[in-house]
Symmetry: C2
DNA sequence: GCTGCCTAGTCAATGATATGACTACTCCTA
DNA sequence: TAGGAGTAGTCATATCATTGACTAGGCAGC
């Protein structure tokens, strides 16, 4: 029930079309909430019917027309209600961890390979987050920005994503090294 | 499609009933895969029909009879296939992060309250993980256990869970402190 | 002139998850 | 002696999420 709130939160910093939102949910917001385009279009339609966002058509010559959406006052009120509702913690849900859980009874080689691959992609994500953080804080240093900058919400969520991927990387490296040391013949 | 593999992985270290599995998915496995009892019973029925697990009835006097399940060779093969299938990374999906993303346009007080609450529950989870880790490694120290112990899979996944909750706690504390400092009048 | 990619959005179908209620029996406590 | 908590499992349903295919025009490269 929180995709709607994620959409509202994303629309807080500007007018976006469904297509643009899909991009955002693929890079920055995917950090804590991923959604495919179809979900977004469906959710946008519902939000508009309920008056939480309003859309306006933009006619374009050289490419398909689009509809840009903004949050209404009702939408902002809905977000405020959401923020005041106790949220329950949701934990990790990860195939790779299921594999590691079972690794003692399986051939460790493919699991090790996946751990090493994941460590690389996690490291790449850390760098992406670092660039996003730099862009968000502009020419201020982190401490000053967090104290005085406007819109620190996106910065804070980005920080959380960075830490998550950093931990992911470290853990994958450690697990892969351990499994490799224990099974020196395979892989 | 990976609940089935999580169930198979959980059944690797013994015979369990649906009810017992529900407990396991509520504490240790919830770490990386949560499921409600109804899902488990449905999945167990499917897995048995497909011959990946086999159940045996245990008749009890003073409480309801139960069915205990074990993984078959076919089930082990299914797990091996799963472990060799490339898995895509899945990230955090968390209501609290949606709230923080939007916090600049809302009253920060309820968000700060939730962050502080979450920091406490995360700290409690860290302690639970610490006890689980201690129990898993018995009287060995961590380094020795990881080098020589049998069944390090559950230990590694538990380590990942611990790190996740530790990061969660640190981030919640930091975010709450920052927001509090920026809005000294509310909350 | 063909192929592939980008923008913009839609339809349909299946699979996974969440929610709530319900049976039935036992033990313990107030 | 009634109520609550624990064990063991089931049913129904509504919403969410995932997958794949599909329209349609424009632009760039080979």
């Amino acid at each position: 029930m929180a995709l709607r709130h994620a959409v509202l939160a994303a629309l807080l910093d500007g007018e976006y079309s469904g297509y643009q939102l899909a991009k955002i949910f693929d890079v920055s917001l995917s950090n804590f909430w991923y959604a495919v385009p179809q979900q977004l279009y469906a959710e946008l339609a519902k939000l508009e019917r309920e008056g939480l966002i309003s859309g306006r058509q933009v006619i374009q010559r050289d490419r398909p027309n689009k509809r840009l959406f903004t949050v209404t006052d009702a939408g902002l009120a809905e977000l405020a209600t959401f923020a005041a509702t106790p949220s329950k913690p949701s934990s990790i849900r990860e195939d790779l961890l299921v594999m590691v859980q079972a690794v003692d009874r399986l051939d460790p080689a493919p699991v090790i390979a996946q751990l090493e691959e994941r460590a690389v992609t996690a490291a790449a994500k850390v760098e992406i987050f670092d660039r996003m953080l730099q862009r968000l804080r502009g020419d201020l240093d982190e401490e000053t920005f967090l104290r005085e900058g406007d819109r620190i919400g996106p910065y804070l969520t980005c920080l959380r994503g960075r830490r998550f991927e950093q931990e992911n990387r470290d853990w994958c490296d450690q697990a892969a090294a351990l499994l490799r040391a224990r099974a020196p013949l395979s892989g």
